[in-house]
Amino acid sequence: MSLSTTLYNTFFRRNSIFVGSIFAGAFVFGIGFDSGVTAFYDRWNKGKQWKDIRHKYVEAAEEE
């Protein structure tokens, strides 16, 4: 059985499963997309954001 047939039989054959997987997928996609974009954004702006320089000042405060 080819991949497309498997895919069809697993997800698309029954509408309830189709719609259900769309909503479940939307949930997972939302989280994954957010973290993916954030990871890219943090990589792109490495060393510039507050979370990258925060440790300098927090440790300094704790040492006092």
């Binding site: 069809y8 939307a26 939302g30």
Partner: protein, 276 residues
């Protein structure tokens, strides 16, 4: 051969052929011909059959004088394939023009799966975008950052000596903070709270036994009770005479409920309490 000749003799000449462009053509049909007279026309007869119709020619005046023209139907000069009587489809003079094979799916299964997948992806991303839109919109209804910043109050507990009341303002309301002595704690704990009007144990009302923190608003009609007074050593409301004990519970008078406890947290490291 003889059979073929016979066939030709009894077969009508074809009236339709297909051009290489795919357009069907009927070269021998004169589209302008009309019936000479329609017997069902009820008096409105067609063109007169005894007069030569205009399309067949006639006399016209041009710059060079009168010109007389007459037209006859000419046979086609292009070759066409003969269609016999039993042939139902016009013979194609060129293979598959126009050619749709490029548009046809090679594999129906994968084509179907792809179509469903695309529709599903559209739904998935739309649902995700709609969810974000709705949540972002609902977020605009929650309190803004400057309101939230004012909604918390920090109090340094080390400045409050034992056995003293402090009244502070929090969101426009007074908040009582009492540093209770051990005797007061014992008194609050030993009270038979099950029989009170609003039964609550002292353990439920405080997070640390020495610190009693509650809203200074009488639960009867909203006056501010006076500290260290009343019959039970707690608070006394001057408006209608409600008495609260050292745990802020309503003991006497019209007050229906105990004094309300706001949400608060202790910051042990700095000896502070954060109300809100």
């Amino acid at each position: 051969m003889a059979l073929n000749g016979l066939k030709k003799a009894v077969t009508l000449t074809p009236s339709v052929c297909t051009l290489p462009s795919g357009v069907p053509a009927a070269p021998l049909i004169n589209l302008a011909v009309r019936a000479p007279a329609d017997p069902h026309a009820h008096g409105h007869s067609g063109p007169r059959a005894d007069v030569a119709p205009r399309w067949s020619g006639g006399v016209s005046r041009t710059s060079s004088g009168l010109v007389s023209k007459s037209y006859i139907t000419l046979p086609s000069t292009t070759p066409f394939t003969a269609r016999f009587m039993h042939t139902s489809v016009a013979v194609k003079s060129a293979p598959e023009v126009p050619d749709f094979s490029h548009y046809r799916a090679n594999d129906n299964d994968s084509n179907r799966a792809l179509s469903y997948f695309m529709v599903g992806s559209l739904g998935l991303i739309s649902a995700s975008v709609a969810k974000s839109t709705v949540t972002e919109f609902l977020k605009t209804m929650s309190a803004s950052a400057d309101v939230l910043a004012l909604a918390k109050v920090e109090i340094d507990l080390s400045s409050i000596p034992e056995g003293k009341n402090v009244v502070i303002k929090w969101r426009g309301k007074p908040v009582f903070i009492r540093h209770r002595t051990q005797a007061e704690i014992d008194e609050a704990r030993e009270t038979k709270w099950q029989s009170l009007r609003d039964p609550e144990s002292d353990e439920q009302r405080v997070k640390k036994p020495e610190w009693l923190i509650m809203l200074g608003v009488c639960t009867h009609l909203g006056c501010v009770p006076i500290g260290e007074s009343g019959d039970y050593g707690g608070w006394f409301c001057p408006c209608h005479g409600s008495h609260y004990d050292i745990s802020g519970r309503a003991r006497k008078g019209p007050a229906p409920l105990n004094l309300e406890i706001p949400a608060y947290d202790f910051n042990d490291a700095e000896g502070k309490v954060i109300i809100g």
